[in-house]
């Protein structure tokens, strides 16, 4: 039965024009879809094809394209296959629709993406900060946030240069590459 469902789904998805369909192996499917059609597709997957488990939502910051890519990984316990639905939305203003009413786990992922990327999901039950409650800087996972520069600006390093090391250096040994250079 699950095999039939798979075939049915493959045929269906191949037929829809706005959907790019790509089967990688028996248990992985990649689907590319326009952002306006995504909720409908997920509803179809969940309601008609038993993809009830939302494994994850991933956000990828394609800064050069000025886009966020959202990847919804949904899993079917019946067909035992995973569909990754890719969509792209413009980086600015960074607002998208929540799929909380379809998949409850989306609440966590959307909240996470919101605080890490600043991408707002309309209709998500809770867009408050969770991990970065005491963080005032920009959303850190954006590619334009340079973590290393932030660190160099805010922290300094332990200077560890004990006598034995100095002795070694006098003999011509010691650390050849300074820690700063490694970094």
């Amino acid at each position: 039965m699950s095999k039939e469902l798979n075939i049915w789904l493959d045929n269906l998805l191949s037929d829809i024009e706005s959907v790019q369909f790509q089967r990688r192996n028996s248990r992985r499917v990649r689907v590319d879809v326009g952002s306006e059609a995504l909720p409908a597709l997920l509803e179809l997957l969940q309601g008609r094809a038993s993809y009830v488990h939302l494994s994850a939502i991933t956000c990828v910051d394609w800064i050069e394209d000025g886009q966020f890519e959202l990847v919804y990984h949904v899993w079917s316990y019946e067909t035992r296959s995973l569909v990754s639905v890719h969509t792209r939305i413009p980086r600015d203003p960074g607002v998208y629709l929540s799929i909380y009413d379809l998949y409850q786990p989306a609440a966590f992922f959307e909240r996470d993406i919101h605080e890490m990327y600043g991408l707002y999901f309309e209709g998500s039950p809770d867009m408050e900060k969770f991990i970065l409650t005491e963080w005032n800087g920009p959303p850190p996972m954006r590619k334009d946030f340079d973590g290393e520069a932030f660190v160099n600006e805010h922290f300094h390093w332990e200077q560890y240069h004990p006598q034995w090391l100095k002795d070694l250096e006098e003999e011509g040994g010691g650390i050849t590459v300074r820690p700063e250079d490694v970094r």
Partner: protein, 380 residues
Amino acid sequence: MRPENYQAKNHPPSHEFELNFGPNHPGIEGNYAFKVKLNGDTVLSARADGGYLHRGFEKLMEGRLWIQNIALVPRICVPDPVPMEVCYSLAIEELGGLEVPERAQWIRVMQLEMSRLAAHLFAFGGHAATTGMYTTMFWGVADRDLILDRFEELTGGRVYSIYNIPGGVRREVPDGFLERMSSLLDYLESRLPDYDNLFFRNQVFIKRARDVGAMTQEQALKWGVTGPNLRATGLAFDVRRDDPYLVYDQLDFEIPTEPGGDALSRNLVRRSELKQSIRILRQVIERLPSIRGPIRCPIPNPLAWNVPAGESYTRVESSKGELAYYVVSTGGDKPYRVHVRGPSSMHAVQVLENLAVGSRLEDVAQIMFSLDACPPEVDR
């Protein structure tokens, strides 16, 4: 905290009060917190508060080489680090189209199951401690330590082994390791009845844990519950069997389930999984000597390795549930994006908040520990 936090104008005139579970609280696993509002001892609302262990892993990994990240990933889940390495390696292997030798796959399975044993012993020890039964915890942690000894022998590290690398494993299995492993398994098996008598069949514990944090199968599916917590609601689903990786499809094991969906069932599932893991390990010990061959496939110079562009989504079954990595490569020497889907990110936030409401103060810690949530997976 800010000065204004200490100078409010008025108290809420109310029948409820607040308690903080964590971050510094024995009723919480690791460095995590949630705030409960209570009336008497009934929880009116619960709110999770994470981020105490946030290190920005995903950001860090974007800044390091593919191979450097191998050292980083096990830190994402401290009690059960091996699945992290394996899952990340699998993702790179898929991107790079590497063919892992069979022997390496078997060694990986062995290591995964050892890690699962250790994690489960730790988990129900912790749960026992929340109900005041410290002896189970003392025994469990001490027995876990024997497994860590074998880890140390195999990989050189007690907790973080950094043993799995893309393409295989780092070292060959030492001489006599399998015999020592076998005798360890015998010992563990002989200990199981002790644990049963002390803990799993202890009437007081059963009375405490039954109907605590119970969820139905529908709820579990709706909330995205995975792993032993899902199996405790009666659904026999296991990534090892249903989305097999490595050589799990060649192994003979069962997927234990329990019907209750409560803290007791979750513990009993873990208890049964101990037995299944031992069973898998015995099969590995039996088969491993007969599988000859290299332990890793050749890989390019890891310091200048440009993994082909593409993306991959790999899943493994960790002791907590479904663990997944989504890795995007643009063909550079560093990953473009790595997303870690820890199973606890569901369990420790949404599920916990939902289950805690209406439960009793006595049971809040039990719910947290019976879900076996691992906060660093949430915070990353």
